[in-house]
């Protein structure tokens, strides 16, 4: 389902975090949201899944006005894999996944055979069915993340929103979780830290910086050394990787920064100015 975000403005305590952000996710498209810490990625996602209420702007999902719809109604259309995980209280894996059914259930409505089937199916799609009776807290980080993806699947939503779904995961689990999302065929909007993962799994990428969309496009349009330098203040080399056919970013630490001299002076100065500008948002 198509998501349209138009000119979203949000701030708290007198600080503007989002300054008119617009983006779109086409039907079945996987869209990545990248940008440095504090650029507004999480805030934007929170606006989309209705934890935050934007001060201005419009969000629509299909024909639906997200900001005017009830939380419950939206929960049937948008599923979220959040950063937070259940804390002190322990649920079984199946119970966590079954929570995905709750926006579809009335007050006294019981769990039907169909619900159980959906939950089992969701767990098996992420390969966690054998863990169904385990306690969630006993799982590893990657397993937990897969269970949360299963919960989102059980929600049968048309849009999947993911906030740093690969945080704290090892490489294997990173690829597995994003591969899963990619293979679902539903529209997805994911905030990602890892530029190379974004390049591998996203159809398009939006770059947020200082609460605004700095650039957008396909991975090879967006992931360029100049942009990375400007937005992150980090030197890099980008090549199209022969095996993946996608851009691959290699970051260069201070010591490996090439070309101290050959650059024209103006460029050097501008880089410095931008970096100091970015430091005080």
């Amino acid at each position: 389902m198509r998501l349209d975000v138009e000119n979203i403005v949000w701030g708290a305590d007198g600080r503007k975090i989002l300054r008119g952000v617009s983006l779109e996710v086409g039907s079945g498209e996987v869209v990545g949201l990248i940008g440095p810490n504090g650029s507004g990625k999480t805030s934007l996602l929170r606006c989309v899944y209705k934890v935050l209420e934007p001060q201005a702007g419009l969000i629509s999902l299909g024909e639906e006005d997200v900001l005017r719809s009830s939380v419950r109604r939206m929960a049937r259309r948008t599923a979220v894999v959040p950063q937070e995980t259940p804390g002190e209280f322990d649920f079984a894996v199946r119970e966590i996944a079954a929570m995905g059914r709750s926006p579809h259930k009335g007050l006294f409505e019981r769990e039907t055979a169909e619900d159980r089937e959906i939950v089992d199916d969701s767990l098996s799609r992420v390969g966690m069915l054998p863990f169904a009776e385990r306690q969630f807290s006993t799982l590893s980080g990657g397993e937990k993340q897969k269970v949360l993806v299963a919960r989102a699947l059980a929600q049968k939503a048309r849009l999947l929103v993911l906030d740093e779904p690969t945080n704290h995961l090892d490489v294997g689990h990173q690829l597995e979780v994003l591969g899963l999302v990619r293979g679902l065929g539903v529209s997805a909007l994911a905030a990602l830290h890892d530029l190379n993962l974004a390049a591998l799994f996203c159809d398009r990428i939006y770059v947020l910086s200082g609460g605004e969309v700095f650039a957008s496009g396909t991975p090879d349009e967006v992931l360029r050394p100049e942009l990375i330098e400007t937005v992150y203040g980090v030197a890099s080399e980008v090549r199209i990787h022969p095996a993946t056919g996608k851009p691959h970013v290699a970051f260069l630490p201070e010591s490996l920064r090439p070309r101290p001299g050959p650059r024209p002076d103006g460029q050097e100065g501008e880089r410095g100015a931008r970096r100091s500008g970015g430091a005080s948002p």
């Binding site: 929170r46 899944y49 209705k50 934890v51 009830s70 939380v71 419950r72 109604r73 939206m74 929960a75 049937r76 948008t78 599923a79 979220v80 959040p82 937070e84 995980t85 259940p86 804390g87 002190e88 209280f89 322990d90 649920f91 079984a92 199946r94 119970e95 966590i96 079954a98 929570m99 995905g100 709750s102 926006p103 259930k105 007050l107 006294f108 769990e111 055979a113 159980r116 089937e117 089992d120 009776e133 385990r134 306690q135 807290s137 006993t138 799982l139 929600q155």
Partner: protein, 360 residues
Amino acid sequence: MDETGGKGEGGGKPVASGFSGVLLALLAGLFASVTLATIVGPVWISPLTVWKVALHEATGFLRPDWSAAEGQIVWQIRFPRVLLAAVVGAGLSVVGTALQAAVRNPLADPFVLGGSSGASVGAVLVIAGGVQFFGIYSLSVAAFVGASVAFVLVLALARSPGGHTSPLRLILAGVAASYALSAVTSFLVLRADDPEEVRSVLFWTLGSLGGARWEYLTLPSAALIGGTALLLAQSRSLNALLAGEETAVTLGVETDGFRRRLLILCGLLTGTMVAVSGTIGFVGLMVPHTVRLVVGADHRRVLPAAALSGAILLVWADVVARTAISPEEMPVGVVTSLAGAPFFLWLMRRKRGAFGGEGG
């Protein structure tokens, strides 16, 4: 239990059937506990007589083959008291369960939001301050009003300027209100001239079911049944809330409104229970945790199991309270805390994975 349930392949079935077993066992346990608790006392009464009297009084069937005194003891003295213990135990446990979800804190109990200290102020005003408005019900009414006022106060104080009521703010406001109200209680108690009054205040604040009569049962029972039904209807939302604040929103729970309604319901239930029993500690904290260790965290299972376990626990605690140092009586809160704390610690240590012991 989870281990045996884990072997099954057929959907949620093994856990579900295991749970109906747990419920049946608890129901049987409650029935047995009520019977035994009615038997025990200065005069021992046979179990058969207990239920014959009950049947006779309730339906008019059966010709009495027991003494009038026995009938009196069973129906007028012990039954109301035992049943009140069951109702209050169940009520406190249900409220504790819901509040732990509402503020997402394992330390929450029915009194976390100032209910007990508010009720105490009300009770002290009646016992030591001589405030009498409703005759013999003055104490109950004052306790209920005190608890409710404290609750409303805490809810209002916890609201942020933006209108949100975060769990942490609630707990902090509750703690602050509790300290302030306890100070008022202490002050009033110190000003009391009659040592007997001081004793009754202390006794009341530790909880007692000694004053039980049939009339005291109606409201708490209705509150318990109505409240538990309402909470059960909301168990999916309670689960979602327990899983996380944002998670709950993404699962369709309008958290601010839901939490407020939940807290008001819990406040009313707490006030009702406190009004007839004083502030009995530890039940509402311990029972939900113990039950979760056995049946998991899903509220569809925790709520009924906690209600039944809480009922059984308080029935027995009250038996100890009235027999251990007879003819004197102990406050039942002393029993629940003294016996409950070690049991709870034992349970916590036995289940290493629970309470963030592993993984996390």
